[in-house]
Symmetry: C2
Subunit: 435 residues, 2 copies
């Protein structure tokens, strides 16, 4: 017996102008589920929004308190951020990724969101012919929205389209066209948690060098591939990065997930010196500034936000320093997500669901923040809406450029033991109804 | 005897790639002066950056502290902001401007900066033919940078070009071209502190209705025209607004100046219902969302910042409520700027400088946060650099679209009594050198 009637769902869909849940954005889905909870009184098991469920560093809270009591509240932040935060970012990338990037090239941003916006905007305007962004899917639909809103052309590759995986071959075909400015991927990825391997990254790096293309490495989930322990500073193993093989790689970093800081909107754009110093006529024409650095600071950071919130900068810096100094380690704490994913995957498979994208090349995909699943009764679409009737919400993969468009993304960020207990009862009812 | 040698100035200009100070951005100038202070040890009298110099509301600090200790740090803000902040913004505009805007149409942004970015981006994409923004100058150069970075066409009018002022006639010529989507102005204006009068606004509002154009009202300095006391809620006089005459008007609001909150990056976009509900094919094509509201939230707010910092939202809300409840009144406190401007203007005129843009139509321009001045020895350019030699910094008006391109903008935000004392000695030396 479903908890939510089809009428409730239909009314909410009408309110948000959604015909099919497969075509709603994640944020629309989130608002819809919140409304359904309010109207029906049903407490959903919510897996739809990628929200961290652990605690920020105590050092971060303390640093924010200090700024709140200081004169900094009234003072504009520098466009390139506070020197202390830039230093901490540079030290972090050295210690935890073995990348040397000058502090002045580690620019604080409002989440990885503003970082990727800036990266797409700049990279697609470096050269008159290379004006297109290539996405390695499955990926994060909001990045597609970013290039669409900016009027930047794009193309997409599903890295799972070939077995065995031959991502470099897929990319080469596009690069030969001569119009690709940047290649975007996330390690691990939202939504299916796959990772490109060091060998794959090395091969793609070679292509970037050959075709003067720039890799845009989304590290919103830095180090959270729990198949390997990346938690110890200044020693291998380090998370794989295109930056290990080429200078044509920009990192987009986030305070939101790993540092449990989503609410304060912190992140950074990490730019190697070779790119930061680059200058082009096309940049001058578009932004009125010829160098990458000036176009970034005066042509993008200033006109979008004019710099990052002072107290949030201090909090982010303190979290990075706590990690660097061994006082607090979010890569160890985030192992909680691994355990939650393991349990949730079991609950789903025990009740007739399938795991999608279960392996990454030859190896099983890591248990982490996200995973993808489907159900044989919904080979095309309809699974998200069917689960909502039973008080469970998850995000359709439709817009992720994934092959398995019928599947859903589960996020374990907010999953408590109580949620895991409740979902089993609801999944049992779902199974009964689909027997 | 100058404090700063021409060599020091030349070296710093080279470092920032600046040929002439008249062509530097304000932020570049700020960095340059900071460097000169560091290198020479001279403590400048700094009038170049528009920085508030008063205290934030204690209630704002307290509210931020509460959020810093709460689970909100880890939770993504809603794209349309916190309900409490939206309510406070709506109540503020009712009480202090006599405008009724539904709370759901008061969208928090990262300063007026993100608000104007969003406004330009949307308004220029509502209709295929109306794709140009018209600026009423003298104005804020960063807004020109915004449309340039977005690739939006624009035109500029100097409202002081005709005497007596006939702004509506100047505008009509452009509107007849059929391609103007929005008209931007600031009351009072950065950099010369002029205001459009209620009569002027009413006439322009009629044109906006006739030509389906949208007024973009920059209220970064809300109520700070100190010729009139706008500090009492729920009673006239109210600051003039195009919103009193037409629904085709969007307000761009800021927490930075009036609320002394520049560091935390708070502001809002205030959209009348008639515009928020608007839908167009052009919006659908550009943003993938047909309505103004969805294009704003999912096509701009999400892809730029994904919402506003949680603690900053709470601080801004608390400041607005403190003002609404009569516990704290920044419009009374900001009268300090009026006094500083009065003293600084006297010091300049007593030492051979001219005030520019001294009257606004028939009445003297208000003493406030900014004013413009020049010097007869520099009828074309060079005044900014000449003053730097004497340890005084101010911003060239070049990029403001002003007629008096040789003039400088002074900001009294950070001006202390000590600064006023020091500047007199330096101005005396400047006068001596120019005798």
């Amino acid at each position: 017996m479903p908890l939510i009637t089809p009428e409730h769902i239909a009314n909410t869909k009408i309110h948000y102008g959604i015909d099919q849940l497969e075509h709603a954005s994640i944020r629309q889905l989130v608002m819809m589920i919140s409304d359904l909870e309010a109207v029906t009184g049903v407490d959903f098991v919510r897996m739809e929004l990628g929200v961290p469920g652990l605690e920020p560093a105590p050092q971060a809270r303390a640093a924010e308190h200090r700024v709140i009591d200081s004169p900094l509240l009234a003072q504009y932040p520098a466009l390139n951020g506070n020197a202390g935060l830039r230093d901490a970012l540079s030290a972090f990338f050295k210690s935890f990724m073995n990348l040397s990037v000058p502090a002045d090239n580690c620019i604080p941003t409002a989440g990885a969101m503003q970082a990727s916006l800036a990266a797409f905007w700049l990279v697609a305007n470096l050269h008159p012919a290379r004006n297109k962004i290539l996405f390695l899917d499955p990926g994060f639909p909001t990045q597609i929205q970013q290039v669409q809103s900016l009027g930047i052309a794009y193309a997409r590759i599903d890295v799972f389209a070939q077995r065995p995986r031959r991502v470099a071959d897929q990319i080469r075909t596009f690069l030969e066209g001569g119009d690709i400015a940047g290649i975007v991927y996330s390690n691990p990825s939202n939504p299916v948690w796959n990772c490109l391997s060091p060998d794959e990254l090395k091969e793609i790096a070679g292509l970037c060098d050959a075709y003067e293309c720039i890799a845009l490495e989304d590290l919103a989930y830095f180090g959270m591939d729990f198949r390997v322990d990346y938690s110890q500073p200044n020693q291998p193993p380090y998370p794989p990065s295109m930056g290990h093989y080429t200078h044509r790689c920009i990192q987009m970093f986030s305070g939101s997930k790993l540092f449990n800081y989503a609410g304060q909107r912190t992140g950074a754009l990490i730019v190697p010196e070779a790119l930061m110093d680059l200058s082009s006529e096309q940049l001058q024409t578009r932004f009125g500034h010829a160098t990458f650095r000036n176009a970034l600071l005066f042509g993008i950071i200033q006109p979008t936000t004019a710099g990052l919130c002072q107290s949030a900068q201090a909090g982010f810096e303190a979290a990075l320093r706590a990690m660097l100094e061994g006082e607090w380690n979010p890569l160890i704490e985030a192992r909680a997500y691994e355990q939650r994913a393991l349990k949730l995957k079991s609950a789903l498979t025990e009740h007739g669901f399938d795991l999608l994208y279960a392996s990454d090349g030859d190896t099983p995909i890591a248990d982490g923040f996200y995973f993808a699943f489907g159900h044989p009764a919904y080979p095309e679409s309809g699974l998200a809406e069917a689960l909502i009737q039973f008080g469970i919400s998850a995000t359709p993969l439709t817009d992720a450029g994934a092959e398995h468009k019928h599947g859903l993304r589960a996020c374990v960020g907010l999953m408590t033991d109580d949620d895991l207990h409740r979902i089993k009862g609801r999944l049992a009812k779902f199974q009964e109804a689909h027997a």
